[in-house]
Symmetry: C2
Subunit: 416 residues, 2 copies
């Protein structure tokens, strides 16, 4: 296959992470250096920006390498994001026609989409459509999700930084919970509807002098409120301050979310049951059943945007996978997503490869059952060893007035 | 007055901060170096540790300076804390007799208590009681509170680090909120029942490219839900993503907490009204009245324990005020609290002095009304200038396996 020459377009999609812009940065730098790519365009708000012709010239925008360096450490999608699901691929569909009209207008021969499994659906459909109309373009997905739930890849860019934030925070909350000489239960609610990777990262807070969190509950194992109460009582036999980490998405044996099955008895003005968050629901149960001091803490969006405590390993890998996506596309790959492959050996090493997007789009990877203990209230040593290298290293942030400097898309300078 | 020779005792009390141990570290180091002080003792869980004779020998515990350095950067009270209110000072009260029996037993001639305004009540009462029984001891309060609500002192150790965490986090949440091309309101609930200092710190997140947070509501000004809705609509005229920072303690004109006055109509099984947190209550109101995407985020205990993003200025000042407390006591001061005084001039400089504890104990300092705008939805430039120097600088943390190393009191090594 002949190598394509023309312009490239990069978009970002789905929920933010602390390192999604490191991948953008890698893709931009590699594209600028590519002999095959002339202009590097960015789609504002992902595929929506293509449909609305909200496209900016990134080659012109980034005049200095310093700015690109700031981009690398800036959390949340710099180009803006979207949650847009393309319709099924069919001939003469007006949405696809509109997108490819834009591709033609801007002479786009390379399209890179940074996102999670929903966004990989877009990569799959666009590459299928391109093939169906014989439009020469190489389309590559660059993975991004704090959830770490993409198939095939060893892990996803964004996960390591979220894991580092979670572990650091759980460590600090543990310190906070230990200061008073009273029995207490602290419940930390962590993101993850179906996969427990983020909640599992709380185990990294354990160290030589602390075995907290004491209990970890993941969506992969059915949750029983009775077992939960017994587990807490068991821990209370040996320590005063119990730290529980729980995925927002824990479910009962029938697959119903716990926050839906356990109702505090609250009803709204219409008599509808009120659904609290998972942590809050468990907090109320512990308070009424165990009569001890209890608090629930929801880590919330900080899990995906706390770039000030990002993992340097994660940033560097996200940057590199962005670069490698461009190299793969230059070499003719299309309809692929880039993945990390962990190399065998004692030390942590990865390679970056591309795999068929059909094996990834719309699929989810959860934690293997054997990496969770039998009782379903803790994780295995293997899982800890898997996560450990991903949170290593701290970025050197540019600080101003005591705060990190993050880059913001200057819409006045946008170029059409 | 003759200089006292004997042993010293240090305790910590009240809610944790990121730098309360920096003050402990300063007090320990200065005491170890003091020719007047022989053994440096620590009271575990504050005054409760004195009553229970839970007292450890800190001179023996800290064998190396490296350990003390770790202590300086460890959040939450290393010695444990308490919330214990002493009874009124009266002759032959058995609690005071017990405490002074311990003071005699351990030959305590210097007592340092690190805490907030409730803890200063303890300092006041103990020094009054000592005088009443003519027991020679110098008792000094070392201020500590994230709330910044102590009288006389320019600011309190702990506030700068909490302010830095809040400003950084608000900055990152703002980035997160801007990625989608839809109208949204994000409500960030920040600690502070009566004083708005912490919530005001959110304004430090503003920079050249962002004016968020757009609205700031403090407990110092009566809150009106109607004005709040109008304020949001006003901001929405010029931007899509509105960031609101609000103190947990905002109240209506009659002084009732908003989270109590506005009920979402939820009732429990007994028909009692359900009280949500302030942020959650406002979230529900915005959703039902403005019909746009809305989210509330409670920063929770991270505000007081996120040592990984502590202010170096705050750490250094907390350390220094701990040292200065010992020096003041050596020179005969008692019944005092140490304070920061901001020196005049363009550059930020402080001196450390001691003031009569009676001017501080049980009193609260709120934000002057003139530092809040007339509408009560923003703060003044003066307040920003006041806060700005307090968040400067980042500590060099010792990291292990990607996480900060924090010191933990090893109870096996405790010495009685």
């Amino acid at each position: 296959m002949d190598q394509l020459t023309g312009n490239c377009l990069i978009g970002q999609s789905g929920g933010p992470t602390a390192v999604i812009n490191a991948s953008l940065c890698g893709a931009i730098q590699q594209s600028i250096n590519s002999p095959l790519i002339k202009t590097v365009y960015g789609a504002v708000n992902g595929i929506e920006g293509v449909l609305n012709e909200h496209i900016i010239d990134l080659s012109a925008y980034f005049k200095s390498m310093d700015e690109l360096e700031l981009l690398k450490n800036t959390p949340a999608a710099f180009l803006g994001s979207c949650r847009y699901k393309l319709p099924a691929v069919e001939p003469r569909n007006e949405i696809y026609e509109k997108i490819f009209e834009m591709f033609k207008k801007y002479d786009i021969r390379y399209f890179f989409y940074i996102g999670g499994n929903d966004s990989m659906d877009t990569v799959m459909k666009l590459s299928d459509y391109a093939k169906s109309i014989s439009y020469p373009i190489n389309i590559i997905g660059i993975p991004k999700t704090i959830d770490n739930d993409l198939q095939i890849t060893d892990h996803t860019p964004g996960y390591g930084s979220a894991a580092k934030f979670i572990a650091t925070t759980v460590l600090e909350i543990t310190k906070d919970s230990e200061v008073y000489d009273v029995d207490s239960v602290t419940i930390i609610e962590i993101m993850g509807r179906n996969a427990g990777w983020l909640t599992a990262a709380s185990a990294l807070a354990r160290n030589d002098s602390s075995d907290s969190p004491d209990l970890i509950y993941l969506p992969e194992v059915p949750f029983s409120i009775e077992n939960f109460m017994n587990d807490i009582k068991e821990v209370q036999k040996r320590k005063r301050n119990v730290i529980v980490c729980v995925s927002e998405g824990i479910k009962d044996g029938s697959g119903k979310y716990i926050c839906e099955t356990i109702s505090s008895g609250l009803v709204d003005v219409f008599g509808h049951k009120y659904l609290g968050g998972t942590g809050k629901v468990l907090e109320d149960e512990v308070r009424s059943r165990l009569k001890c001091k209890v608090r629930s803490i929801e880590l919330n969006v900080l899990q995906r945007c706390a770039a000030h405590i990002a993992s340097l390993t994660d940033i560097n890998e996200a940057y590199e996978i962005g670069k490698q996506a461009v190299i793969a596309a230059e070499n003719g790959a299309t309809g692929k997503m880039m993945v990390f492959k962990r190399l065998p050996g004692e030390d942590y090493n990865i390679s970056i490869e591309s795999v068929d997007i059909k094996n990834i789009a719309n699929k989810e990877k959860v934690i293997p059952r054997e990496w969770i203990n039998e009782k379903g209230n803790n994780i295995s040593r293997e899982l800890i060893n898997y996560m450990k290298p991903l949170i290593l290293g701290e970025p050197k942030l540019t600080m101003k007035d005591g705060l990190p400097v993050y880059l913001k898309l200057d819409r006045k300078e946008e170029q059409n």
